[in-house]
């Protein structure tokens, strides 16, 4: 660094500064040696018992876990390679910044009886630096469940191993989703077989949604609420109306417009706007397409472009529906001559009829108004114009 500056600027003053700095650095590098040397001489050692170095001298190889009263193992070994790669170590976060109760050895006796309790105690440290995320989590379904005392609900460290967590951007979508899969494996297995999951896991496709793209990172909402249901349409629409993504796969971006124009979509949209807390029984995207197990509409076994499959989807809400019923839904198409011609021609008929009828009426109405105005403002010619007509108008 110094040499580059020197080459670039080449000023004597800078050279002098550089030399002074070099000496300072060398001096600083030597300092730890001096401390060790001093401590050997002194009867009282002056080891920094709060340095990561000091902690890791034991914990790097502390293979034996501490057994908690619940019988669970609390692993206390820090994998050095992972730790070095973690965002905490890269930002020089000291162990004791989180482990505040520890200032040296021996450590204070742990009060947590279970692993979950221990993690909850540790979470209080996270909030000091990650306040926004911690508060978001408190408002999320996970935070709600934690506040209800649900021991399976995740604490910060269940998802983020503080000793190994790299930067979020460095993780792939699959790695993100694997975190969720630790607790939601049933759903993850379904997702893994979906059109989205297959593309993500097999092809490392970054266009498809992973768990957090729909559910959020810390803000994941309770998916059983009316609010979630009513607004879920926009989760899908965010990507499915984005031509830059959809064009790659030849998918329509009219899916939202055509849905909103239809009975289901109109109702759901209105509920979302006027009464978001009320559950509607009208279908949202996932009622027909599935949630985590979404398949391509062309899937031979379950794809909705196969009419039988569509009927099955219809029947989940319309149990009495029969063979013709699926066609009442235009499958996100805008009707044209080939696709849904009846609807197209009825529309066309009215597109001609309405201006035709109204235009004809307008001719009569305007001509009548013209006559009335003319008779009112222009003196009628004395010849043969019905006299009483004029009188009556004045009379009126």
């Amino acid at each position: 660094m110094k040499r580059i500056n020197l080459l670039n600027v080449g000023r004597i003053l800078l050279l002098l500064t550089a030399i002074v700095l070099c000496f300072t650095i060398v001096d600083m590098l030597n300092t730890p040696d001096k401390v060790v040397a001093q401590s050997e001489d002194d009867s009282q050692p002056k080891i920094d018992t709060t340095s990561n170095f000091y902690c890791l001298s034991c914990h790097a190889e502390a293979y034996n876990p501490v057994q908690l009263p619940s019988g669970e193992n609390l692993y206390i070994q820090i994998e050095l390679a992972d730790f070095a790669d973690s965002t905490h170590d890269r930002n020089q976060i000291g162990c004791v910044q989180c482990h505040k109760d520890i200032s040296g050895f021996p450590h204070p006796i742990k009060t947590a009886r279970t692993l979950h309790e221990y993690q909850l105690q540790r979470d209080t440290a996270c909030i000091e630096c990650h306040e926004v995320q911690a508060n978001q989590t408190k408002d999320s379904i996970h935070g709600f469940l934690l506040s209800q005392g649900e021991v399976n609900a995740p604490t910060c460290s269940n998802c983020h191993d503080p000793h190994a967590q790299p930067y979020m951007e460095e993780l792939t979508k699959t790695e993100h989703s694997e975190v969720c899969a630790n607790c939601h494996n049933g759903i993850f297995q379904e997702y893994a077989n979906s059109v989205h999951g297959e593309a993500m896991i097999n092809d490392d496709n970054q266009d498809v949604p992973g768990c957090i793209d729909c559910h959020g990172v810390h803000t994941m909402a309770d998916t059983s609420t009316a609010e979630f249901r009513n607004s879920s349409v926009y989760l899908c629409a965010d990507c499915h109306t984005n031509a830059s993504i959809m064009d790659k796969y030849g998918l329509s971006t009219q899916v939202l417009d055509t849905y909103v124009a239809d009975f289901h979509g109109t109702t759901v949209t209105l509920f979302e706007i006027t009464e978001p807390g009320q559950t509607t029984n009208k279908a949202v995207c996932y009622d027909c397409h599935g949630i985590h197990n979404i398949l391509s509409v062309n899937d031979p076994n379950k794809g909705l472009s196969v009419k039988q499959n569509m009927l099955v989807a219809c029947q989940s809400c319309h149990p009495d529906a029969t063979t013709n019923f699926p066609d009442t839904w235009l499958s996100h198409y805008i009707p044209d001559k080939d696709k849904y011609p009846i609807v197209y021609y009825v529309t066309l008929f009215y597109q001609i009829l309405i201006p035709g009828v109204l235009g004809g009426m307008a001719i009569f109405v305007l001509s009548d108004a013209y006559r009335r105005l003319r008779m009112k403002f222009i003196k009628p010619k004395p010849v043969e114009v019905p006299v009483e007509g004029e009188e009556v108008i004045k009379h009126d």
Partner: protein
């Protein structure tokens, strides 16, 4: 010319009540229908909220629809009575004269004719509106009940008929409402206020202008032909049962169509009934410690013969090179730490290491009993290198 203040009865009370019923049901249908058709318009959203939400709006729309439908049924029975029993002239049916009237009126308006046409009891404008009304009544009734009963409809027709009915229902409504504004409002409210639907009569001047032919007829004073009471009774014998059957059928039909179909389930079940939300993965086993070779106790009773390994494993983490006692080297352990001599050769009881490792002591690194015994023997034997 006769007295200009003379009034001519046009609509009796029953017809005026019919009209009021029509105003109420039609306006309700128009408002609650158009806010459904243009649901995402901000005015619609405000009105929908005001009326108590979209589901309530739909119920109001259906109540108005049934009212409108039954009003129509009443009207048809009335027409049957007037035309069949009383043998009145079908004054609403358009004919060729109405076409000429319309053209002549247009020419007159444009100043191409000196006089407007003399028009009958119902002139071309009214006949046109009445026909549009009848057309709309059937079309809206048919498409409306289709939309109300899509499952029943698709048992009979192809599925596409339902969205087609929706388009027709909505656009016909637009046409009807605009026509009411343009045609009806202009003719009876804007060009001049026509009170006949409320007060029941027209003035002489209004009659001249709009129903000249009828006025002439009235002034001729042609008497209404009397109906022979026997013939009247005979006709009533047919009319009464037919009209009763017709009204019962129509009322039953509307009750049936309003209640027949439970189109959809009312509550959506939780989507994930089968897959549990919380399904933890089996945790990956924590890497276990590599097993250490077990040295022969007898031949290994020296520092280099295995005791070093023991100390390295159990104490080396803390007692390394960070100061104080170091177990890394033989000289280090013999030299001892800050608290004193860790190992005094030949004297285990005075060696700090043995005090530290005594059972019950909370020193973090702890030898097993077997290992401690090895160390004790090593010290007794002089802690050899």
């Amino acid at each position: 010319m006769t007295d200009h203040n003379k009034k001519y009865e046009r609509f009796n009370v029953a017809r005026r009540l019919e009209h009021i019923l029509l105003i109420l049901s039609f306006s309700t249908l128009a408002v609650t229908g158009l806010i459904q058709k243009y649901a995402l318009n901000s005015i619609s959203i405000a009105l929908i909220s005001f009326l108590g939400g979209i589901e309530t709006v739909r119920i109001i729309h259906r109540i108005a629809a049934v009212t409108f439908f039954l009003e129509g049924v009443y009207h048809f029975i009335l027409m049957a009575y007037l035309l069949y029993v009383k043998r009145k002239e079908a004054t609403m049916i358009p004919g060729i004269k109405d076409g000429f009237d319309a053209i002549n009126e247009l020419l007159y308006n444009l100043g191409l004719r000196k006089e407007g046409p003399k028009m009958p009891r119902y002139n071309y404008a009214e006949k046109m509106e009445y026909l549009a009304m009848i057309w709309g009544y059937f079309l809206m009734g048919l498409t409306g009940f289709m939309l109300w009963n899509p499952i029943l409809t698709t048992r009979i027709f192809p599925g596409e008929i339902v969205p087609a009915a929706k388009v027709a229902h909505g656009l016909e409504a637009v046409l009807a409402v605009l026509a009411i504004f343009l045609w009806h409002f202009y003719h009876v409210h804007i060009k001049k206020w026509n009170w006949s639907m409320f007060k029941g009569f027209l003035t002489h001047h209004e009659m001249v202008e709009e129903h000249g032919a009828e006025l002439e007829k009235i002034e001729k004073g042609e008497p209404e032909p009397e109906i022979d009471p026997v013939v009247y009774k005979k006709r009533m014998k047919i009319f009464t049962p037919v009209s009763i059957v017709f009204s019962v059928v129509m009322v039953s039909l509307v009750v049936f169509l309003a209640n027949y179909e439970e189109t959809a389930i009312t509550t959506i079940p939780r989507v994930y009934a089968e897959v549990d939300v919380f399904v933890p993965r089996t945790p990956t086993p924590f890497p276990t410690q590599i097993p250490s070779p077990t040295p022969d106790m007898m031949i290994a009773n020296t520092w280099d013969g295995g005791i070093d390994y023991l100390f390295e494993q159990k104490c080396g983490l803390c007692h390394g090179e960070s100061g104080g006692l170091s177990v890394k080297t033989y000289s280090g352990i013999i030299q001892g730490g800050n608290s004193g001599m860790a190992v005094i050769p030949g004297r285990p009881n005075e060696s700090l290491i043995m005090q530290n490792q005594a059972p019950g002591n909370e020193h973090p690194g702890q030898f097993t009993d077997e290992e401690l015994e090895r160390v004790r023997i090593w010290i007794i034997n002089g802690a050899r290198k």
